[in-house]
Amino acid sequence: MAVSNIQVSETPLVLYTLRRADDALVLGHRLSEWCGHGPMLEEDMALANMGLDLLGQARELYSYAAKAEGGDNNEDGFAYLRDVRQYRNLLLLEQPNGDFAGTMVRQFFYSAFADLYWRAMIKSRDETLAAIAAKSEKESAYHLRHSSEWIIRLGDGTEESHARTQAAIDHLWAFTGEMFAVDEAERGLIDKGIAIDTVALRPLWLKTVSGVVAEATLALPTNEWMQQGGRSGRHSEHLGHLLSELQYMQRTFPGLTW
């Protein structure tokens, strides 16, 4: 019998894995929206490549979440049959693409974190997460390289590109804090050596980001107030629209094989 939303038993490990899986899916989906519309063909290729990397990460993480949950849920159930309030991704990643500067700044902020995160997670005591980390770390390293090169060129390009990129930084800055927040659910996993303490990653992240931004002749905002909520299902209005497109087929034709 087809149901409208699946139920998920969010034990600490399941919740932790779903958070990362949703991050990858939402960002991968956003990047895929560019396909056929990029500023040059070479960039259509790059955006699609990054999108495919992230979709791959999402699938592996969803599969692991399903295994950890031990019930009947699977990758497509998680992706297509959870509503906005059940999604656990960072607010940063559901923000609309905006212009190319907006997309590159979002990618840059996230990849600078993901690169550090996955490298640290290689040492996770959870074998599956460690293996996913080893693969994802190489992908994130490339995403960071690619987006950094663009931040530099856009910041230190023309007046227009500089203005657009600065505007994107100013707009997205308040979403960066959420990447480093740790809550009760994760505390236990960190103590067990399964998860890593992302709070500790922030100084190095800031160093990387500041370096590139400076080389790009841009500036980081000084405000410290950070948006939160994605990790507990309190999303921006953007996620609802994203999911109505993503989930359209499964919602319209429930319970079928595609």
């Binding site: 699609a48 497509d76 227009e160 590109s161 993503l246």
Partner: protein, 330 residues
């Protein structure tokens, strides 16, 4: 001597062409030799190949749009990744083809400007809309299938860069057709509604796909020299027939019917399809198909929206040229 970079060619001054050069050129073609970028070639050979290769490239790029339309709505994560990879491949194919066209002396920018200005064509098939998920299956199965039929002979085209680009393309294209057919299989083995969706998609795409092979042999204006110069190895009708013969059994396996009730199999096993209504084809070529305006608008928007990005990259590169000198002066 000179390179593959942007050469200007006195392409149209045929009176200067030596009859001896033309004869030895034809002898090379007849001997199945490959013509390479810096070789002497008749102006008409250069012109026809530039047109054909660049229009092939435009087709790949515009072809990203009808399938790209369903990436965000793909019904499973596996289908989503496969479709994104497929559309990315089409972009790659466009890039290989522009690279090949550029070896003949025109720049990619010139060629793309011509397409965006409506002066260069792309394949008619991409002016049709993808209305359901089943359309994605049909496109992979039939549109890529038709493209493969066209592209395999091109792997032996006389012009080296085009032939090599086609070999690369053909290697990648076979996953595209399999992906499409697998989607069709899944739908046809699914619910009644899914099967109906598959049948409806096939009904809408069948005739436009047959038109992809171009006008009937007696009506086509480009064929004679293309055949003499081994650019075109088989005629439109030959390829179309080959395609139909391969496809009908595939449709039968799916349990789908082809919207040509009068089609019959002849004594040699060939499927004789009904007369094609070419008025639709002419209208689509003239810009009046269901999606021509949308496709052009989408490509123009991408190009225009991307201008500031390209300018920024160029400005940055320019600045780098002067920086080392500025640092040395300090």
């Amino acid at each position: 001597m000179y390179t593959q970079a942007l050469n200007s060619s006195d392409a149209d001054d045929r009176s200067l062409e030596d009859a001896e050069q033309a004869a030895s050129f034809q002898a090379r073609i007849d001997a199945e030799e490959r013509i390479e970028p810096n070789d002497w070639m008749p102006a008409a050979y250069r012109k026809t190949l530039t047109r054909q290769i660049s229009q092939h490239a435009h087709s790949e790029i515009v072809g990203m749009l009808p399938e790209g339309n369903w990436i965000t709505r793909a019904p499973t994560l596996r289908r989503k990744a496969a479709l994104l990879a497929k559309v990315q491949d089409e972009c790659g194919h466009g890039l290989y083809l522009y690279a090949a066209a550029e070896t003949l002396g025109s720049s990619r920018e010139e060629l793309v400007d011509a397409m965006l200005a409506g002066k260069a064509k792309y394949s008619s098939i991409f002016n049709y809309p993808t209305l359901t998920w089943a359309d994605i299956g049909v496109i992979g199965w039939l549109v890529d299938g038709a493209a493969i039929m066209n592209q395999i002979p091109l792997c032996r085209c006389s012009y080296g860069p085009y032939a090599r680009a086609m070999i690369r393309v053909c290697k990648e294209e076979s996953f595209h057709q399999r992906q499409g057919y697998e989607i069709m299989l899944t739908l046809c083995r699914g619910s009644a509604e899914q099967k109906a969706m598959a049948q409806d998609a096939l009904n809408r795409w069948w005739w436009p796909v047959l038109m992809m092979f171009g006008p009937p042999d007696q009506a086509s204006q480009h064929s004679d020299t293309s055949t003499k110069w081994k650019i075109k190895r088989f005629s439109n009708d030959e390829l179309r027939q080959k395609f139909v013969d391969a496809t009908v059994p595939q449709a039968q396996f799916l349990g789908l019917t082809i919207s040509d009730p009068a089609m019959t199999q002849d004594a040699d096993g060939h499927w004789r399809y009904s007369e094609i209504d070419w008025t639709e084809f002419k209208q689509v070529l003239a810009g009046n198909g269901p999606c021509n305006r949308d496709r052009m608008a989408a490509r123009r928007k991408a190009h225009d929206d991307g201008a500031w990005v390209r300018e920024a990259a160029a400005a940055y590169a320019e600045k780098q040229k002067y920086r080392p000198a500025a640092q040395a002066a300090e």
